[in-house]
């Protein structure tokens, strides 16, 4: 498998993206912050670009987009093996940051700003004999790279 086909190899006017590695992720909102272990696999990113498609009477799609219109990403990350203390810390964080802009540093060391759109999400006690048995999912909506 070649790097050109499977790796980051932009040709043209791509916005440069810098990535490195981190051992944890952080969510910061004002004076509040929380650091969590790396998310589980299955983390998803959904890129949404505002545009207009009008279909003509003959069925031809006419597409238009103003460069000033918004582009945003919805990031969904799931965590497991959290301690009860960390799970409660996360619930406090979600309450304190309700509706506020949150800065998220992801596993690739990219920094995003967005709003947590699932503050009602519960932490899940998965059972087990250790304390590290809690899971949680955070969705960061309307996020843009900083």
């Amino acid at each position: 498998m070649s790097e050109k086909l499977h790796g980051y190899s932009p040709w043209g006017v791509f916005t440069p993206v810098t990535m490195s590695t981190r051992a944890d992720v952080t969510f910061v909102c004002g004076a509040d912050s929380i650091t969590l272990r790396l998310p589980d696999f299955g983390n998803a990113e959904e890129v949404d670009v505002d545009r207009v498609i009008n279909v003509s009477r003959g069925g031809t799609p006419n597409i238009f987009r103003d460069p000033q219109w918004t582009k945003s990403t919805e990031i969904t990350v799931g965590f497991s093996v959290l301690t009860r203390a960390k799970a409660l810390e996360l619930l406090d964080f979600l309450k304190n940051c309700l509706g506020l802009l949150v800065t998220y540093t992801d596993p690739d060391d990219r920094i995003w700003e967005g709003i947590v759109t699932n503050p009602e999400s519960a932490v899940i006690d998965g059972g087990g004999i250790t304390d590290c048995k809690y899971g949680a999912t955070i969705t960061l909506g309307a996020a843009n790279p900083v």
């Binding site: 498998m1 980051y8 791509f14 998803a44 890129v47 238009f64 987009r65 596993p107």
Partner: protein, 139 residues
């Protein structure tokens, strides 16, 4: 063999101008689809006569899925989509057929699914992606 996306593509209906950006993707998974953009209305008169009203076009809807793209390539696809979600794109597919397409799906979603030997990104991780396109074969 690979898939090449070049944007923006200027055609008589979309005189987009700008620098050409190219994105290369490997061959998609099997089960890619190619459907037609046709519609039909069937009417029956009181004496049983059948009439059909049709809309026909050369446009086709295309769907491609990739399951083992490196993390870096997934980011590249996102950036390409951000640039050209509002433009026509020239696609050369794995059969070397050339298409004038638009992204039919908005938003697009990626999922990082596991560790991989693939290239791309600081971590050896890969993920999946599906692109839904609508376009006309031009060569």
């Amino acid at each position: 063999m690979s898939m090449t996306f070049r944007g923006p593509y200027a055609n008589p209906n979309n005189p987009a101008v700008g620098p050409i950006t190219t994105m290369l993707l490997p061959n998609p998974e099997l089960d890619n689809t190619e459907g037609q953009d046709l519609s039909l209305q069937l009417r029956r008169a009181i004496d049983g006569t059948r009439s059909t009203y049709v809309k026909s076009s050369d446009r086709k809807s295309l769907s491609f899925t990739w399951n083992d793209l490196g993390r870096g390539k997934l980011v590249e696809v996102q950036e390409f989509f951000k640039l050209y979600a509002g433009d026509h794109v020239l696609l050369t597919d794995f059969r070397d057929d050339i298409w004038d397409v638009i992204f039919n799906e908005n938003p697009i979603s990626i999922q990082v699914t596991g560790r991989s030997a693939n290239f791309g990104g600081p971590r050896a991780e890969s993920g999946s992606l599906t692109l839904e396109l609508l376009g006309v074969k031009i060569a």
